[in-house]
């Protein structure tokens, strides 16, 4: 399994989906739960340690939201 986020793609076997498509369709996919967990973990690990090429963000620069109980989705 290879996840090439730098090009905006998730590659799994013969299947190519964009990250956005993956997120949008995550609950309606033919992936097994184990595969979803694996991809989720790899996405999280990637996002926690990398930046997105050509995005303008510096290496490991991140976006955080902090606040009260109405912090974005909470």
């Amino acid at each position: 399994m290879k996840h090439n986020f730098l090009s905006g793609e998730v590659q799994k076997n013969e299947l190519f989906v964009t990250y956005a498509d993956y997120v949008a369709n995550r609950n309606n996919t033919q992936y097994s739960e184990e595969t979803i967990r694996t991809i989720d973990n790899e996405i999280l690990a990637y996002e926690n340690t990398n930046f997105i090429a050509d995005s303008g963000f510096e290496t490991k620069q991140q976006i955080f939201a902090i606040g009260d109980s109405h912090c974005l989705f909470f």
Binding site: A20, Q62, I66, S69, L72, F73
Partner: protein, 197 residues
Amino acid sequence: MKSIKIKNHWLYGMPITIYTLLREGLDIFNIGTNLENHQGIFGKGHSKYNIKEKDFVIFFFGWNDMQKNINLHAADRWREEIDDLLQKYVQTISMSKGHIIPIIANIYPNPRAGADLQTMRGSEEERRNYFLYANDVLRNLCAKNGILFLNLYELVADENNCIREEFTTDNIHLDGNNLKLVAFVEDRIVKFCQSYL
């Protein structure tokens, strides 16, 4: 599509109002580092934020102040109280410039009918007056102080200034399990941040 995950969690031990934020302060580079025992309760795996120099930090405070405390403590002088509170809020956050890239977000709208309103103070109209006024004040103060202002209000509010029905399951909060909503909002925020790089 380029994307970057946004860490957005309300953490145990965090100030839950602007008032407590100003009174108690916040060690922004050590959020959650002493909260291992609470991990999984509020932090959901992101209890250790590890905010670093130059990171974008979006401040989402004010909802509890507007929904609960303004009416309780300053109903007869709410404009003056909001002016004073938000001026100190923006000034405090502006002091972090040079270390982080601070962003102040708008205050979210009223809960929908059916929400648990036991802790709210003031009528729906009064609370609506508070946060609409506060968002105007915040926008102006951010402009004056050179702070980025993130405005998601039109996205999350309906025509009655309540949180949109399709985006909430408890009639109060945005639904973090709505993955299309999450992806859309995060993409919008990333583009917002990119525009200031």
